[in-house]
Structures are given as C-alpha cells and as structure tokens.
C-alpha cells in the first residue's frame, strides 16, 4: 500500500508537468525590411582595464554642459551608463545616489550618462531625464549622450554599466568595469559592493582586486 501512495502523487506530478500543448498562435508578420537594421554588428570595441578613457562634453539635466575636466579636484570618477526605462537601472537608483553621496567628497563623483536613443524608447528622452532626476533628487549630473558618440567609445553595452576611472598624469585610466554590486533585486542581500571596493582600493593607492564583473542589464537602444 505504501508504494501506491508514493507513486500516486508522482504520477500526478508527472502529468501536471506536461508542457502547454502547442496551440496555433497567430504570429504577427512583421515587416522584415524594418527589422533587419536592428541586428547589431558585434562590436568588440570599448575600453579594457588600464586604457585611457575619453572626456566628453554632454548636456546635463540642468541644461549645462558637463565634462570630466570640470572636476579639477577629482581623483577619479564613477561613470555610470544608466537610463529611465530599464528596471535594472531603476533598481539601482538609490544605490547610485548613495555612491555619489559617499564618494563625491572623497574625490570620486558619480557621473551618470543616459546612452539610449529616445526615439527607441520615449521614457529615455531628455525631458523625462529631467523629470526623473528631480523626482529622485539625483545628487549627480545625469547627462544625455546625444548622438550616441560616447557610450561606444567606452564599450558600454547595457544599463546600468559602470566605469570607474582614476585620474592619472596620463589621463583618466579605466580601473573597473561592470556591475555596482552582486545583487540587483535585493539590496539587503548584497554581499560584495564591487564599485565601492574598487574606489576604496584606489583611494588607498591600490588597484582594485576585482576589476571586471558582469550583470544583467538592458541593451542600449540604438537608432535603427
């Protein structure tokens, strides 16, 4: 008898696990000419650790142009490609503010850049960047990569995507590339704060022990 009771739920489970029968779904015929351009060429460009990062002059949400060179006292920068629409960027907004508040005074300000083409997603328009910066009380510049010329040079592929730069005699040297920390969804369960660790190392005159990390993000929207 025991055996039967053991098998019965197993049988039910096996049946329940059956995958949805393939129904005939109406797949929308999408104009193929329109989409072909969306296929991106794989770009292996972008910075590696140790490369010198380009400066830029991009419009901030306060309608002023901002460059890295404006920060004469800075020891380096936390450059974060982020945006309005991406849930992963939104999940990190408060942590980005915390980073700026913690490190600006120590010489590593956050510089946020929206790399997306707003024609691809209206939520990422310059006007809505202003709205979001105001709503969240961003303490850092939130710049618009108008024309999308800066993010490809850095090699940002997604939002959020962080580049920690150290100011050296030769230029702004890339010291860390990747994620902010090791848990996007649950800030309370973060165990490694990659960006903080990298900046702390630089402040101590050392190189970061972890220089590159990866995390899920929204691919950067480009003109098709």
């Amino acid at each position: 008898m025991k055996k039967v009771f053991y098998l019965l739920p197993l049988a039910l489970f096996a049946c329940g696990e059956e995958t949805e029968t393939q129904e005939e779904t109406t797949t929308e015929e999408v104009d193929s000419t329109e989409v072909i351009a969306e296929v991106e060429e794989t770009e292996t460009g972008g910075y590696a650790i140790g490369d010198m990062a380009t400066d830029f002059s991009l419009m901030n949400v306060d309608d002023q142009m901002v460059s890295l060179a404006d920060y004469e006292e800075a020891k380096g920068y936390i450059v974060i490609f982020t945006c309005n629409h991406c849930p992963f960027s939104v999940a990190y907004e408060d942590r980005i503010i915390d980073l700026d508040e913690k490190y600006k005074a120590q010489g590593f300000p956050v510089i946020a850049i929206n790399p997306n083409d707003p024609e691809e997603n209206a939520d990422d328009s310059f006007e809505l960047m202003k709205v979001r910066a105001e709503e969240k009380g961003f303490t850092f510049p939130y710049l618009f990569d108008d024309g999308q010329e800066i993010y490809p040079q850095y090699g940002a592929t997604k939002t959020p995507h962080v580049f920690v730069l150290e100011k050296t005699a030769e230029g702004n040297q890339v010291a860390y590339i990747g994620a902010i920390d090791d848990n996007t969804n649950e800030p309370e369960n973060v165990t490694v704060k990659y960006v903080e660790d990298a900046v702390d190392a630089l402040l101590n005159g050392e190189q970061p022990s972890v220089t590159e990390t990866v995390a899920i993000g929204c691919s950067i929207k480009t003109k098709s």
């Binding site: 008898m1 055996k3 039967v4 098998l7 019965l8 197993l10 049988a11 096996a14 049946c15 329940g16 696990e17 059956e18 995958t19 949805e20 393939q22 129904e23 005939e24 779904t25 109406t26 797949t27 929308e28 999408v30 193929s32 989409v35 072909i36 969306e38 296929v39 991106e40 794989t42 629409h85 991406c86 849930p87 691809e120 997603n121 592929t157 997604k158 995507h161 990747g178 994620a179 090791d182 848990n183 996007t184 969804n185 649950e186 369960n189 990659y194 990390t213 990866v214 995390a215 899920i216 993000g217 929204c218 691919s219 950067i220 929207k221």
Partner: protein, 176 residues
C-alpha cells in the same frame, strides 16, 4: 496490490511519454519553486538547475532565448522564436525569462497569456549574475536579449537581436 502499483506505474510512464514527446528530456527538472496563476505554471530555477536546459542531449536544434517582458528588443523578437518553434519539427525553443520573481504574476504570466506564447517559458532567478553570466558564455556582457543555439555537435552564443530570417539562417547552420 502489485497490479495496482503496476497500473500507476503505467500511467506514470504514459504521462511522461506524452509530455516528453516534444521535449525528449534526458534530465530531471529541479525547480526551486513553481509559480501558478491563471492556469499557467512557471518553473523558477537557479543557474545550476537551469544548466540541463542548456545542455540537452537530443536530436534537435535547441534554441534558448534569454529575455524579459520589460526588455523592448526581446519582446520585439519573441514572435520569431515562437514562429520557429511552431514551424520547425527539428527545433526546440526554450524561453528563459529574467523577469523579477515578484513580477511573474503581474507581468510574465499575463504576457504569456496575451501573446499566446506556446514555447516553454521558465524563469531564471539567481542573484549571483557575475558568476552565472560568464558560465553561460565568456563573452556575454549581461545585456538582454541573448540567445544560445546548440545541438549535440556545436553551440553558439549571440548577444544580439534577431530578425526571423537571420534566426532561421543561424539555426540552419547547425544542420549538417
């Protein structure tokens, strides 16, 4: 009693046979949870237990698409994966969603229903993305969408969006 057990066993195999007719799975599924709503079940996996879906040993060309309902280019290309799954007997499509677990009932399941998604959708929920993204593919930056195409002989990874034509072309390149 022995007969009864045998009968149950027969039923069990019958069920498995039916469900695996299309999947022909050679592994045991170990989801960490199953979220059910509106008649749809979504199995939630950590990375280690999603690996078998990336390494199926079968006679098909397996297409695994990493996506999320909030990812605009992912949603744009999803109909092509669906079309592929329906039109091609030699292809098996698995859609691995990276939606937040909290939003499965509010976003993912409604999306599956509204868009009549017939391919299997499973959820990957593993906070340690810095480790598992590299295991999926060394070259993956973590941007969505991303796709793996593989069979018993070869495997390719794509961090890009597809058109239906390009997707078919890539799949066909796996045919000897």
């Amino acid at each position: 009693m022995r007969y009864f057990a045998a009968l149950i066993l027969f039923m069990l195999t019958a069920c498995v046979g039916e469900s695996s007719a299309d999947e022909s799975e050679d592994f045991v599924r170990v989801p960490k949870s199953i979220i059910k709503d509106q008649g749809i079940e979504v199995e939630v996996y950590d990375y280690d237990h999603i690996v078998p879906f990336l390494e199926k040993e079968n006679d098909k060309i397996n297409v695994v698409n990493f996506w999320a309902t909030w990812c605009i280019p992912c949603v744009a290309e999803l109909p092509y994966f669906e079309k592929l799954n329906q039109e091609r007997e030699d292809v098996s499509v698995t859609l691995i969603s990276l939606d937040f677990v909290k939003q499965v009932e509010s976003s993912l399941i409604p999306f599956i229903i509204e868009n009549d998604i017939a391919s299997e959708v499973i959820l990957l929920d593993d906070p340690n993305s810095n480790e598992w993204i590299r295991k999926v593919d060394e070259s993956w930056s973590g941007a969505l969408p991303a796709t793996i195409i593989y069979n018993n002989n070869a495997k390719a990874f794509y961090e890009q969006s597809f058109t239906f034509e390009v997707l078919v072309e890539e799949v066909n390149s796996f045919k000897l």
